[in-house]
């Protein structure tokens, strides 16, 4: 059976319309064949001129995950500090994307799999060319009941991330995606109506 066949059990519509960012994971491991299918889906994504200037690192080793988790935690707070938020006391209570992200920063190292998405060229075009693969990975993961969310790493930890995973100086870490079976459920996302974010032939003419 091929990856395409194993992803034959979920429709495109269901995958897309029940895909949501999953930031809390069960500790259960993800079978190797599921990880492989997610990566096979990744490399089918479009990329500039089929140059495939990308490189992925699948992190499953327990010690590497622990260390990446620590770096992620440090990076998350470094980014908050850039924005004047110095600790949990500066984050408004109640459910919010930031509170949910803070919790994930605490638990990041517990995700059973993380994937670093790198560009082999250090340019914004190169970085962009890797991103469709991130969406393929998340959709394929959804197809197998696995969740994840796109994260970025703060420059403050980048040298250590390069060192930990042997990433050449000529490459750029674009995103880091933790994967795991969700605590909580997949389901529809909340979005502004299309007419607010889409124009017809002109920015300011709402698409109907």
């Amino acid at each position: 059976m091929t990856t395409a066949e194993r992803l034959g059990n979920i429709s495109l519509g269901e995958a897309m319309f029940t895909q949501r960012a999953i930031r809390r994971f069960k500790p259960d491991p993800i079978p190797d064949e599921v990880v492989r299918d997610i990566m096979e889906a990744a490399i089918r994504a479009p990329n500039g001129g089929n140059t495939q200037e990308w490189h992925f690192i699948v992190v499953r080793d327990a010690e590497k995950r622990r260390m990446l988790g620590e770096l992620y935690h440090e990076a998350w707070w470094a980014k908050r500090k850039d924005a004047g938020i110095n600790g949990p006391e500066d984050i408004p209570p109640g459910k919010s994307p930031m509170r949910s992200a803070m919790r994930m920063a605490n638990e990041f190292g517990n995700a059973p799999v993380m994937v670093l998405l790198c560009s082999t060229v250090r340019s914004s075009a190169g970085a962009g060319s890797v991103i469709p693969a991130a969406q393929n990975m998340l959709l394929a993961a959804r197809g197998f009941g696995v969740g994840g969310t796109i994260t970025t790493l703060h420059p403050e930890v980048m040298d250590r991330v390069h060192q930990l995973f042997g990433i050449p100086d000529t490459a750029l870490v674009v995103y880091c995606i933790p994967f795991g079976y969700p605590r909580g459920a997949f389901g529809p996302v909340t979005r502004k109506p299309l007419a607010e974010v889409c124009g017809a032939d002109h920015w300011a003419s709402p698409f109907q």
Copy 2:
């Protein structure tokens, strides 16, 4: 019927594994409801913190398409000239991504629909946050038998693109995707094997 239901007829596996860049289009129009479904799929894509800092412009008006086609053609050659390629005579004969892209630059204005994907913030993080939506659009289009390909516009034409579509100076045009029914077929893409572009716990340790 919802978009998710209309995208229920193709599996995720088939959509992903038969998605390829389509650069030659039939002149046939795309029904409005298909365009709408593609855009509904776009806005389900993940984006940073659900801030939805994106804006799309669907271009269907004949005159606007003609003008964007001219700008695209100029932009495509401006980018080639940056790389020392001054005309068709500098492009090696035979089938190649560049030759195929050159042909598309000639025909761009004939695509029945183009979509500009913009970030409402002018930063590379903002630009990146729009890109998963591009992949959702291309996969949804594939679900309806519609093809397209990600393109970028050269800075040389950007002021005129902003003017033509009333795009604020505070926004950034990230990608422009032409859509149409393919001349030619969908089908699998050619990619390097996973072990060449994916490491296990380390950049240089091939993922098996």
